[in-house]
């Protein structure tokens, strides 16, 4: 029982982690918290679903198509909405992402309808035996795909020129710019990459929750909670924070009550901000004048 709960909790947590990674990625690169990230994920997932039903491509192909599709969605969004706001006060960019939230949320409902639809899963729901416990293949599959995405992101940031440039820009934008890093392009790449990751997140969670235009709201809230728990500026921190959130959520749902399963994240946000505002895994950033 407990192993099962842990495994499904970790699966849930790694889905949250993917969305949290997208949030932190954009935040690190551009100082914007993209409130529309979850909705963009939902929109991309719907687009993939349309591709799946219209063209009858097999599901794995559609899942691979999600990556370029997400990049395209992210890059186009950045160009159209965020680009013109680069020199505006930061709160304006934040407001613009809320405008994006409304646009994606309601456009999806308008195009694809407001009723939840079943989304096929790559993995069979049949449980298999691991260490004497029966664990759903679905959970293992989700964890495996998320891990793959995380490893790819790690390799990108450690070993590619662009990744290193992005890390430099997130540490000190002006210095990176003086070293010849194209900061405008960094923002574009961050949006593209983050949106691709979040569409993968949407594809992983859609089979669990049904595909629905409301599906990402609670995921977004928990991704925020996880990211804050881990420290909003640390990619590994956000992953660990989200895994904790996923496991705790599952345990609360199993042993306490399911009524507040979706909103306990708010409690975590407040408690973390109260006692350890910089997150569990990062040191406080001291800003110099």
């Amino acid at each position: 029982m407990i192993t099962q709960l842990l495994a499904s909790g970790l699966a849930l947590g790694s889905v949250y982690a993917l969305l949290a990674l997208s949030l932190v990625l954009i935040h690190k690169a551009t100082d914007v918290v993209n409130f529309a990230q979850g909705e963009m994920a939902m929109f991309g997932t719907y687009a993939c679903f349309a591709l799946l039903t219209k063209t009858e491509f097999p599901l794995p192909v559609v899942m691979l198509a999600a990556v370029p599709l997400g990049i395209l969605l992210g890059v186009a969004t950045e160009r159209i909405t965020m680009g013109p706001l680069r020199s505006a006060p930061p709160v304006n960019a934040l407001i613009a992402t809320i405008g994006l939230w409304m646009i994606f949320h309601h456009t999806a409902g308008w195009i694809w309808g407001y009723d939840p639809v079943r989304f096929p899963s790559l993995f069979s729901p049949e449980p298999i035996n691991i260490l004497g416990a029966r664990v759903a293949q679905n959970s293992l599959g989700i964890i495996a795909v998320s891990l793959l995405v995380m490893v790819l992101l790690y390799l990108f940031f450690e070993f590619t020129r662009m990744g290193i440039a992005m890390r430099a820009a997130s540490q000190n934008r002006r210095a990176a710019q003086l070293m010849g890093v194209n900061v405008t392009r960094i923002s574009l790449i961050a949006w593209g990459l983050a949106t691709a990751v979040s569409v993968v997140c949407g594809l992983l969670i859609a089979p669990l929750t049904f595909l629905d235009f409301e599906m990402m709201l609670s995921v977004l809230l928990k991704a925020f909670a996880g990211a804050i728990l881990g420290g909003f500026n640390s990619l590994p921190g956000a992953v660990v924070g989200c895994l904790v959130i996923g496991v705790v959520e599952n345990l609360i749902a199993a042993y306490v009550s399911t009524a507040f399963k979706d909103t306990f994240a708010f409690g975590i946000i407040i408690v973390v901000l109260m006692f350890r505002p910089q997150g569990l895994f990062t040191r406080e950033i001291v800003k110099k004048v």
Binding site: F35, T81, M102, I103, A259, P277, K287, V289
Partner: protein
């Protein structure tokens, strides 16, 4: 210049007083809604325009005000006015509770916390059936003044107008107070202001609490106008609509708040045919507004005004 300002203010006031005549019942109701929304827009003026902070959970404070006032009036038998005041105070108290932890850190934590808060409030109100009626909702008595019930939205509109003017007056005074000026300094350079001894969290928390109070009062008045509350009203969509109207009206002007309220109340009437697309249009107008009219619709009015009055308009 001061004289022209006074004349404009008097003209606007006269217009607001004269506007509802001959509009009919539904017109009175819409005008009352304009006022109620304008109070929320005013509260966001304080928070975003002065404080530079954003909230995507004002529906939570609106709900607290509405339910707080309704329960105090129906269960404890308090008069309408005290109920509205209490609704505002409850919202303000929770506002301070949310803002306290979120503002100790720089960045957008307050916005995230408000998002969680609004969802939390909505769920608690829904689950706490014995108190709030849960799914069934809650009946709220009509507003009454000194024992006279205001049955008509026509009369209620003038009460709302008076309360809006009171809140607008408070906003103006707050802008000129120590906190208001501190916020202005923080906005120009947070580091420089803090070096001069201005406590950033303190003043933003004050702004946030005032903002929550205004929204709570507005929510309370809304409940008494509607006569019936259900938790569905206080969704995330309404929080986002609030933000939209405040930005579109203009975040730095009290007249802008009025324009914003009018936009949110009247736009659905004009966009009836576009049912589903309405929120998409809100989103698009929000982004266009931030990009091209960051000071809102009121800045257009102001610009036209300066062209009309000064021969060498510089802007």
């Amino acid at each position: 210049m001061n004289l022209t300002r006074t004349i404009v203010a008097v003209l606007i006031l006269a217009l607001l007083v004269a506007l509802p005549f001959g509009l009919g019942q539904y017109g009175y109701y819409l005008m009352a809604i304009v006022m109620i929304y304008a109070m929320v827009a005013l509260s966001l003026n304080v928070l975003i325009g002065m404080g530079g902070q954003i909230s995507i959970g004002h529906a939570g404070f609106w709900a607290l005000g509405a339910y707080g006032s309704a329960l105090i009036v129906t269960k404890l038998g308090f008069p309408f006015f005290l109920g509205v005041l209490a609704g505002g105070l409850i919202a303000a108290a929770f506002g301070a509770l949310v803002a306290l932890p979120a503002l100790r850190v720089q960045g957008h934590y307050l916005a995230i916390a408000t998002l969680g808060f609004a969802l939390f409030v909505q769920q608690v109100l829904f689950e706490w059936e014995s108190l709030t009626g849960g799914r069934q909702g809650l009946f709220v008595p009509r507003p009454s003044l000194f024992g006279f019930e205001l049955r008509d939205d026509f009369a209620y509109y003038y009460l709302l107008l008076a309360i809006f003017l009171l809140l607008a007056w408070i906003t103006g005074n707050f802008a000129r107070s120590h906190s208001g000026r501190s916020l202005m300094a923080l906005k120009m350079s947070s580091v420089a202001a803090e070096c001069c001894g201005i406590a950033r969290p303190k003043h933003i928390i004050i702004a946030f609490t005032i903002s929550a109070f205004f929204t709570g009062v507005s929510g309370a008045l809304y409940g008494h106008l509607l006569g019936h509350l259900s938790t569905e009203t206080f969704s995330l969509a309404i929080s986002l609509s609030f933000l939209t109207m405040a930005v579109i009206g203009g975040l730095h002007s009290r007249a802008g708040a009025l324009l914003g309220g009018a936009y949110l109340a009247l736009a659905p009437e004009l966009m009836r045919e576009f049912k589903d697309v309405q929120m998409v249009i809100y989103g698009v107008t929000l982004i266009l507004c931030v990009q091209f009219l960051p000071r809102g619709l009121i800045s257009v009015v102001e610009r036209v005004w300066t062209i009309g009055t000064t021969p060498h308009a510089t802007r």
